[in-house]
């Protein structure tokens, strides 16, 4: 059956009379490439499609000449590349390209073997300059902190515009085809830095030449590129003078030598982004520790050529002079340097002493979701098998556990049901409490593209009008903490109006009748009253969902960080079950995982109640399995303290020692004042981090660890995709990879942890964990990835529940009845404002990483967003200084007046220590899994000063004005009277 389907999907095309096998619909260029037939192409890019600007790809068809990039394989397609007119047309095209682009390759930053202009001219054997090159009447745009645009080198291929408009969908770039000298524009103007550009770098990544270059490459790429232009220019002129006589040949020989030398000099290493859960992978180009650029390729399984500002440009922290590079030991009121032996011996001795004096449960471990899977595994193994406690947790407690709980209750696996490709395929995407465009930017791009070009509908529910809300087909702005109510009302409406998929429910889901009864209170009228949404909007949401063939639910911290976050997550999953939206392409539930490896940290066991692969620590069989696997006498039987309850356990005297890895607990845990007080009460505390964090201030021993680029390992992204990261550079100073520190400590505590490489740790996990049975470093080689569960033979699972077998013993999903309760954090006359908080695009969390570099040029300060209504009411304006006080503490901030918030709602980003919002958050937490209810804060606002400078720099993208266009508008170029279709000679080749 499968074979037959494959045969049916083939066709034959003819190229210069030669039959070639092809897949119907396959782009001609890709097909020819597969058959190793070169057809020149410059503007075409597999992820952007045909742009039809470069005119180098002409082929002859039955209807005359056609641009090869526009053709797709189909039975009967016959083209010719060889005829003279096609060849002439291609050469006319490339001659025009080099009339716009000066070939000074040996002094060019892009001569690294992948300059497509250079390579095309070389491969087409262009003998020399036919049309003279002419400079443009524009200066280089060097305004942007991360990239430079050089109009003199721009071939107007339009790739950058297409990437910005339709891949990233930020809609900053356009080309003004009508100008005398067309050029790329930012928000219609000529200054990149003062535009809506979000610095995703995708335009730079896809530019085929040096017209858009990363600033870090400038002057640093090759042996001759460091020369200043006042030397490069005469040299280039001299060479250009010789060139008409010699042709391009000898000059290209020199530049090929130069490029070969650079190839040896610049390392290109595949790694995975250290920031968010999208899991973008890319090559990092380095010379020693110098990071020259981040270059995503079309092979990245989650992102292709996409990135956001953090993944593309957010690496200054790696070489920060604030990096910890020596172990530190507390001595009186200061720290002193120590060597590893002394520090680790001390840690081993003190951990042993605390255990002997107070028992193993007096110790607790916090794993990091920035660390690798292998490191998460070793952390929990250290806690369980070496110390003997289940007091181990990771920061998914702060964010993700309620979402996982919602999925555990209903469908079984605590992970996204499908892949990013499923999100792209959906007809309707329901986004609840997710600021996707800022927190998962690359996934947001996929969704924005599906909406812009494929008719996908977006229903966005959020208390704040962020970018996804602005772009939504339907935007719901409910009162805070009431999502459960309208979700249940929508579900009830769907059932009442015949939109429930009864066949699916009867065959695959338990508990429908009880669930249906639980929905009785949730009429549309009741929901409108509680949520303050209009009845019509609730009905419209339901109708859109009910009528759609494929629906995905996407949610994030706006759902989970509430007292009833697990319940709201469950409500989303219930809704998807009612409408049969699981197991098919383009359907499913997608909690957006925050950190790069927050999924993996839990998957690999750093949770207080589960072993790796989600086996309960309270299950005797699982315990026996792991006891034998680890070769220890016993394992603790009861679930341990979680991140949040650990702090209370310290204050109650139950916890005496903590070992905290890569977690800024002193800032990120709710009620920060209380947390810090309790750190001071510990008998012994170890902090393992790459920076001297606020948490480290309380430590007895501080151990310098290595960031992702200084070690090997694997991460799991939000799609359950396991990807390998390779070591880009050696650890800085005496820092060590976390896995190596933990393994060393394990040995000092008497266990035979002789792991020589993280792959050996992964082999152990695969041997002991059915969920990862077939995972190995060989299967993850290079760009390869595996989405769990992975069977022993290596078969992975891009989409869960495809066979409609849910992850319960009987294979049936479950409805989980719910009731609504309001948040315990009351808005009253004194604390009369609701404070929301979260990340911003430019920074990650508390800014430890992103705050260490040039991203600060775009945004450094934390501010409080105030609605225009409230600003009027309180007499504040952008730049005013205010004090926000909650029932726990207070902070002072500058005001930014914006329509992103409404009424009495405020928003504070997280990215600095000074404006730390966790001085305001409280102890109230999700009732099921104790995730702090960070999003439920009642505050009052006092005005300290009215006038002041705006906290938002002028060059921040939020001040820009996007210019959305559907495509790059090449027809406007063709419509010019001075455009002559090749092979006709051009009259003004230097213009476009």
């Amino acid at each position: 059956m499968h074979d037959q389907a494959q045969t049916e999907a083939r066709c034959t095309i003819h190229v210069d009379g030669q039959p070639l096998e092809a897949t119907p619909g396959e782009p001609l260029i890709a097909c020819l490439e597969r058959h190793r037939i070169d057809l020149p192409h410059l503007c075409y890019h597999p992820q952007l499609g045909p742009l039809e600007t470069c005119d180098t790809c002409w082929v002859k068809t039955g209807d005359g000449l056609a641009r090869g990039c526009t053709l797709q394989a189909e039975e009967g397609l016959a083209i010719e590349l060889a005829p003279r007119e096609a060849d002439d047309a291609r050469h006319e095209g490339i001659d025009r390209v080099i009339a716009r682009h000066e070939l000074y390759c040996s002094v060019c930053e892009n001569n690294n073997g992948n300059c497509e202009v250079h390579n095309t001219v070389r491969d087409m054997r262009v003998p020399g300059q036919r049309y003279p090159y002419e400079a443009k009447p524009y200066a280089k745009d060097t305004s942007h902190p991360f990239y430079t645009y050089d109009p003199d080198q721009c071939i107007l291929c339009g790739r950058c515009v297409e990437a910005c408009q339709n891949l990233e969908v930020n809609e900053t770039l356009t080309i003004d085809w009508e100008r005398d000298h067309p050029r790329v524009l930012w928000d219609g103007g000529e200054v990149a830095d003062q535009s809506s550009c979000v610095s995703c770098g995708q335009c730079v990544t896809v530019c085929p030449c040096n017209a858009l270059m990363e600033n870090d490459m400038l002057g640093r790429a090759g042996p001759l590129t460091a020369m200043p232009w006042d030397i490069k220019r005469p040299l280039t002129n001299a060479i250009k003078g010789v060139e008409p006589t010699t042709g391009f040949g000898p000059i290209f020989t020199l530049s090929e030598l130069d490029s070969t030398q650079r190839h040896a000099d610049i390392q290109r290493t595949k790694t995975v982004c250290t920031y968010c859960g999208v899991g973008c992978s890319f090559e990092m180009w380095t010379r020693g520790r110098e990071i020259l650029k981040v270059q995503p390729t079309e092979h990245g399984p989650a992102n292709g050529v996409k990135t956001c500002i953090k993944g593309k440009f957010g690496w200054d922290f790696v070489n920060s002079d604030k990096r910890l590079t020596r172990p530190l030991i507390r001595e009186g009121d200061r720290f002193r340097e120590a060597d590893w032996d002394e520090a680790l011996d001390l840690v081993a001795r003190r951990l042993g002493e605390v255990r002997d004096a107070h028992g193993p449960d007096a110790l607790a471990f916090v794993a990091s979701s920035k660390c690798t899977n292998e490191e998460s595994y070793l952390t929990q193994k250290l806690a369980r098998a070496v110390i003997g406690t289940n007091n181990v947790d990771n920061c998914s407690r702060y964010c993700q556990n309620p979402a996982t709980t919602g999925l555990f209750r209903t469908v079984g696996y605590g992970g996204d049901s499908g892949s990013i490709s499923d999100l792209e395929m959906a007809d309707v995407v329901l986004m609840v409490g997710t600021n996707t465009a800022e927190n998962h930017p690359v996934i947001a791009s996929s969704l924005k593209r599906a909406q812009k070009h494929h008719g996908q509908q977006h229903i966005v529910a959020d208390v704040r009008r962020h970018e996804m809300a602005e772009r939504a087909d339907l935007f719901l702005q409910p009162r805070n903490s009431t999502d459960l109510v309208w979700l249940c009302a929508v579900t009830r409406y769907l059932i009442d109006n015949g939109y429930a998929d009864r066949e699916f429910i009867d065959a695959h889901v338990h508990g429908f009748e009880e669930y249906r009864r639980s929905l009785e209170p949730f009429t549309v009228t009741y929901a409108a009253e509680i949520t303050r949404l209009s009845e019509a909007s609730i009905i419209e949401a339901a109708e859109r969902i009910g009528r759609a063939e494929r629906v995905c639910g996407v949610w994030a911290m706006g759902v989970t960080q509430h007292t009833y976050g697990s319940d709201t997550s469950t409500a989303i999953s219930n809704l998807l079950l009612v409408t049969g939206n699981y197991g098919r392409p383009g359907t499913g539930g997608y909690p957006m995982r925050g950190h790069n490896n927050v999924q993996g940290a839990s998957d690999f066991g750093s949770l207080c109640n589960i072993f790796p692969g989600y086996q309960s620590v309270e299950d005797p069989e699982a315990r026996e399995h792991w006891r034998r696997g680890w070769g220890v006498d016993w394992l603790p039987e009861k679930a341990g303290f979680n991140n949040h309850s650990m702090i209370n356990a310290v204050s109650e005297g139950k916890l005496k020692a903590m070992y905290i890895i890569g977690e800024e607990s002193a800032l990120v845990d709710a009620n920060a004042n209380h947390v810090r007080e309790n750190f001071g009460r510990l008998d012994f505390m170890v902090v393992q981090d790459i920076f001297f964090s606020r948490t480290a201030e309380y430590a007895d021993v501080v151990l310098p660890a290595a960031p992702s680029v200084e070690k090997e390992g694997t991460f799991v992204n939000t799609e359950r995709r396991i990807q390998r990261l390779y070591q880009v550079m050696e650890p800085l100073g005496d820092a060590r990879p976390d896995w190596a520190i933990l393994a060393d400590l394990g040995r000092r505590l008497g266990h035979p942890w002789h792991y020589a490489h993280p792959s050996e740790i992964m082999d152990e996990v695969a041997r002991l964990t059915p969920l990862f049975a077939g995972v190995s470093y060989e299967r993850l080689e290079g760009w390869k990835s595996l989405q769990w569960p992975v069977a022993a033979d290596g078969t992975d699972t891009p989409r869960l529940y495809e066979d409609l077998e849910f992850h319960f013993d009987d294979g049936m999903a479950r409805f989980h009845p719910l009731e609504w309760r309001d948040s315990p954090e009351r808005i009253d006359d004194e604390y009369d404002l609701h404070l929301n908080n979260g990340r911003v695009l430019e920074h990650f969390h508390e800014g430890n990483l992103t705050g260490a570099g040039r991203i600060n040029d775009k945004l450094s300060e934390v501010f409080v967003e105030v609605s225009p209504e409230l600003a009027r009411e309180r007499g504040v304006e952008t730049g005013s200084r205010v004090r926000l006080a909650s029932r726990r503490g207070e902070i002072e901030l500058n005001v930014l007046v914006t329509e992103r918030v409404t009424g009495h709602g405020l928003y504070v980003p997280l990215h600095t220590r000074e404006g730390n919002v966790n001085r305001l958050t409280g102890d109230h937490a999700d009732v099921a899994v104790e995730t702090p209810a960070y999003k439920e804060i009642a505050v009052k606002m006092d005005v300290l000063q009215v006038d002041g400078p705006s906290p938002l720099p002028r060059n921040n993208h939020r001040n820009g004005q996007r210019i959305p266009i559907h495509d790059i508008g090449v027809e406007r170029k063709w419509a010019r009277s001075d455009y002559h279709r090749p092979p006709q000679a051009s009259t003004d080749p230097e213009r476009f």
């Binding site: 030669q18 260029i29 190793r36 037939i37 070169d38 020149p40 192409h41 410059l42 060889a82 005829p83 060849d87 002439d88 073997g113 992948n114 250079h118 390579n119 095309t120 070389r122 491969d123 087409m124 054997r125 003998p127 020399g128 300059q129 036919r130 002129n237 003078g241 010789v242 006589t245 010699t246 042709g247 040949g249 000898p250 020989t253 070969t260 030398q261 040896a264 290109r268 595949k270 090559e283 520790r289 390729t297 092979h299 070489n319 002079d321 990096r323 590079t325 530190l328 009121d333 200061r334 720290f335 340097e337 510990l682 001297f692 309380y698 070591q727 100073g733 820092a735 080689e781 290079g782």
Partner: protein
């Protein structure tokens, strides 16, 4: 109760580290390359087996020209150390052809100065240009050889088209995709 210790009480030596190579690192790298590519062994063998020569070489190395020559040699060796042997073979073959072309008497005579195309304007020196012409002829042959050697799979898109007015006499061109062959074939991660 443990008090917080602020970062100003952390010894400076425990923070930051060397993030860029200094001259010593570069020298160490050069020595390492020379060693890994067996260049040192070659030199040592030569020095050991030929005491007479080594005395001569040692004397020469002391001279000013020797020092300069040594520096140049190091640069050359360092570059050669990174060139894959098959490429070197191609270059050497091509260079041999280039040298023979450059030494042909007719190259000296027949090569016209570029005149109208600007080089003359640039150089203002007919004689200098004449002395350069064999080198250019050599470079042309070198390049032609290099491209011929690289051209192992002729694509179907070959065609002919008038050369630009004063273009050089190059092998027939073929359509090219402009892709980086090294990039396509290389594994994406580092070995």
């Amino acid at each position: 109760m443990a008090q917080a210790i602020k970062s100003d009480r952390v010894p400076a030596g425990a923070l930051g580290g060397k993030t860029a190579p200094d001259a010593h690192d570069e020298l160490a790298r050069l020595i390492d390359n020379l060693h890994r590519r067996q260049i040192f062994r070659l030199l040592n063998d030569a020095l050991e087996s030929l005491p007479e020569t080594s005395r001569l070489i040692a004397g020469e190395l002391e001279s000013e020209g020797g020092v300069r020559g040594g520096a140049n040699l190091f640069v050359l060796l360092r570059t050669l150390g990174r060139v894959p042997p098959e490429d070197l073979q191609r270059w050497l073959d091509a260079a041999a052809r280039g040298i023979s072309a450059a030494s042909r008497e007719e190259a000296r005579e027949a090569y016209p100065a570029p005149g109208v195309l600007g080089v003359k304007d640039l150089l203002h020196d007919e004689a200098l240009w004449h002395s350069l012409s064999p080198l250019l002829e050599g470079l042309k042959a070198f390049t032609g050889e290099l491209q011929a050697a690289a051209d192992s799979s002729p694509g179907p898109a070959e065609g002919s088209r008038p050369d630009p007015e004063e273009g050089a006499d190059l092998p027939p061109r073929r359509a090219g995709s402009g892709r980086d062959p090294q990039e396509q074939e290389e594994s994406p991660h580092r070995e």
